[in-house]
């Protein structure tokens, strides 16, 4: 698979504040790659660095296996932080500026406005739009020039549920057309529904990355207790049918590989000499998973 972006040991600080620390990940063509993390985790900084808006203190990144240049920039459509347009210009004129910069034809403007359902308002001034429309225009500007890569920073920021769904549909339709999408968000639901891969950031550190299906799925958790908790935890860490074990209050929380049940776990513990005083099966929510990862 072609690697479109490779990030190597990227670090960026603002004075004494380390915004991103030694990030390394890569994005392949066709992936919808999420950067997930709470506010202040370094998502926007990461995007700003790889788009050459900010300079990294250490590390490097490569687009299409080469450093960022003017031609590469044209292959990327990006939306960073709040959308920035000329308030006194119409939607058409604002997108015309984007089209001229990217050497794109005017037809692209109509296409972009069509995809984002803004064609009827193309001659309205930007400052007459609602927040949802402004966000959609921001996405339209990303689509002008038909870029191969879309980089979106919190595209659903400030939107109501209807706007949220509209933007999600747009992203999915672009993904279906084969575009590679890098999406930064703090909204778990957004990432889970749209992304194929995810990198989870916390306080500038990359704490997990991989397929969404592997990192963030609703799973069954088995909460167990025994008199010898430490010994039990050590034993379970060596079991090959157990995905993960961690302490949860007074319990041990166990995530089993698919195909195994709480009964199998109970039997295994008994065979190893541990009598379980508690066996409780619970579905761990996505939010619980995420919070567990960023704790």
């Amino acid at each position: 698979m072609e690697k479109v972006l490779e990030v190597n040991q990227l670090s960026k600080s603002y004075g004494n504040i380390l915004a991103i620390n030694n990030l390394s990940f890569s994005v392949n063509r066709g992936e919808v790659y999420g950067l997930l993390g709470p506010n202040g985790s370094g998502k926007t900084t990461t995007l700003a660095v790889i788009l050459d808006i900010l300079k990294a203190n250490m590390g490097n990144y490569r687009w299409f296996d080469k450093p960022m240049d003017k031609l590469t920039r044209r292959r990327i459509g990006s939306l960073i932080e709040t959308p920035n347009f000329y308030p006194y210009l119409s939607l058409w004129d604002n997108l015309k500026i984007v089209a001229r910069i990217k050497d794109a034809p005017d037809d692209d403007i109509n296409y972009a406005l069509g995809v984002t359902n803004l064609l009827k308002r193309k001659y309205s001034a930007y400052n007459t739009l609602s927040l949802g429309m402004k966000q959609r225009l921001a996405i339209a500007s990303v689509l002008v020039g038909n870029p191969e890569i879309l980089v979106l920073d919190e595209p659903t920021n400030g939107l109501d549920p209807e706007g949220f769904a509209e933007v999600r549909n747009i992203i999915q339709s672009q993904a279906n057309e084969g575009k590679t999408i890098i999406l930064a968000s703090h909204i778990l639901d957004e990432v889970e529904k749209v992304c194929s891969h995810v990198a989870i950031l916390k306080s500038g550190d990359l704490i997990a990355h991989g397929r969404v299906g592997e990192l963030l799925t609703t799973v069954d958790m088995v909460y167990i207790q025994s008199e010898e908790m430490e010994g039990l935890e050590q034993t379970l860490n060596n079991a090959n049918f157990i995905k993960k074990v961690f302490k949860s209050d007074h319990d041990l929380a166990v995530v089993l590989e698919s195909g195994y049940s709480a009964t199998d776990l109970n039997k295994y513990c008994f065979d190893k000499g541990f009598a379980l005083s508690k066996v409780l099966l619970k579905k761990q929510s996505l939010e619980d998973q995420f919070l567990q990862l960023v704790k």
Partner: protein
């Protein structure tokens, strides 16, 4: 270049304040020259009509137009300040422009505005000159015609100072205030610190002196004031009241040098600072 010109054209022509200020600039200039043409002074040897005749009109009209260079500078300040307020400089870089392109685009806009004002003054000169001049000959018409080109340089000079100030302060109101303060107070005060000879070399002085008061209007050529006792009690040049004049050619070269310096500084600032 064509692309940058198109971009600036889209942004500028639709900006309401641009249209307002350029209309005011146009109307004020023509209003002043029209009103002045109706004024009658009863001063022996002086006729207002003479200012409207070739070749004096080549000095007079650019001098009048120079009063309104402030509007041109403010237009530039507003257009650049908006790019920071709206964060569109940053967005344009994200979309694919280089930082140098941002400044080059503004310079193209400055030259275009300067061409507009040049043509406006030229048109006025031709119209009024033809009406008021008797005995038109080629030599009389074109004798001092180079002065309008010098006005063109002056217009660019004011606007590049506006550009630099807007890039430094990034805020419309503050930039306009600093621009006015610089011309009205900061540089005049700074000049007083230096000797009379050195005062002639400050940028605002150099650029404003590109269109000096027309010789026709100069009331005195005395460098000092002589009292009834015959002694000079004041040296006008020493206290800065006398227009210190460099030869025009040197003035033009120095003005071009300052303009080049301001432009270079504009590029440096844009490349060094975060957008």
């Amino acid at each position: 270049m064509k692309k940058l010109f198109q971009l600036e054209k889209i942004k500028t022509l639709s900006y309401p304040a641009f249209k307002t200020l350029m209309i005011i600039h146009f109307l004020l200039f023509f209003l002043v020259v029209l009103i002045f043409s109706r004024v009658h002074f009863s001063i022996p040897g002086f006729s207002v009509k003479g200012l409207y005749q070739f070749p004096n009109i080549w000095e007079f009209f650019p001098w009048v137009a120079s009063w309104f260079n402030l509007f041109l500078a403010i237009v530039v300040i507003l257009l650049v300040g908006n790019e920071f307020s709206f964060r569109t400089f940053r967005q344009n870089v994200v979309n694919g422009l280089s930082r140098n392109d941002l400044i080059t685009g503004k310079l193209i806009m400055i030259v275009t505005i300067a061409i507009y004002t040049f043509l406006m003054v030229l048109l006025a000169i031709i119209i009024f000159g033809m009406v008021y001049t008797n005995g038109i000959t080629f030599n009389i018409v074109f004798e001092k015609s180079y002065l309008i080109l010098i006005y063109f340089i002056q217009a660019i000079g004011y606007m590049t100072i506006g550009l630099l100030i807007a890039l430094i302060f990034r805020n419309n109101a503050l930039s306009i205030i600093m621009f006015l303060l610089y011309f009205a107070i900061i540089e005049p005060v700074l000049r007083l610190i230096f000797k009379a000879e050195a005062r002639r070399f400050f940028p605002a002085k150099i650029i404003s002196n590109l269109t000096p008061t027309p010789e026709f209007l100069t009331m005195t050529s005395e460098k000092s004031f002589t009292t009834s006792s015959g002694k000079s009690s004041l040296d006008f040049q020493e206290i800065g009241l006398m227009p210190e004049s460099l030869p025009l050619g040197i003035n033009v070269v120095l003005a071009a040098g300052f303009i080049g310096f301001f432009i270079a500084l504009s590029y440096v600032i844009t490349n060094k600072r975060n957008l």
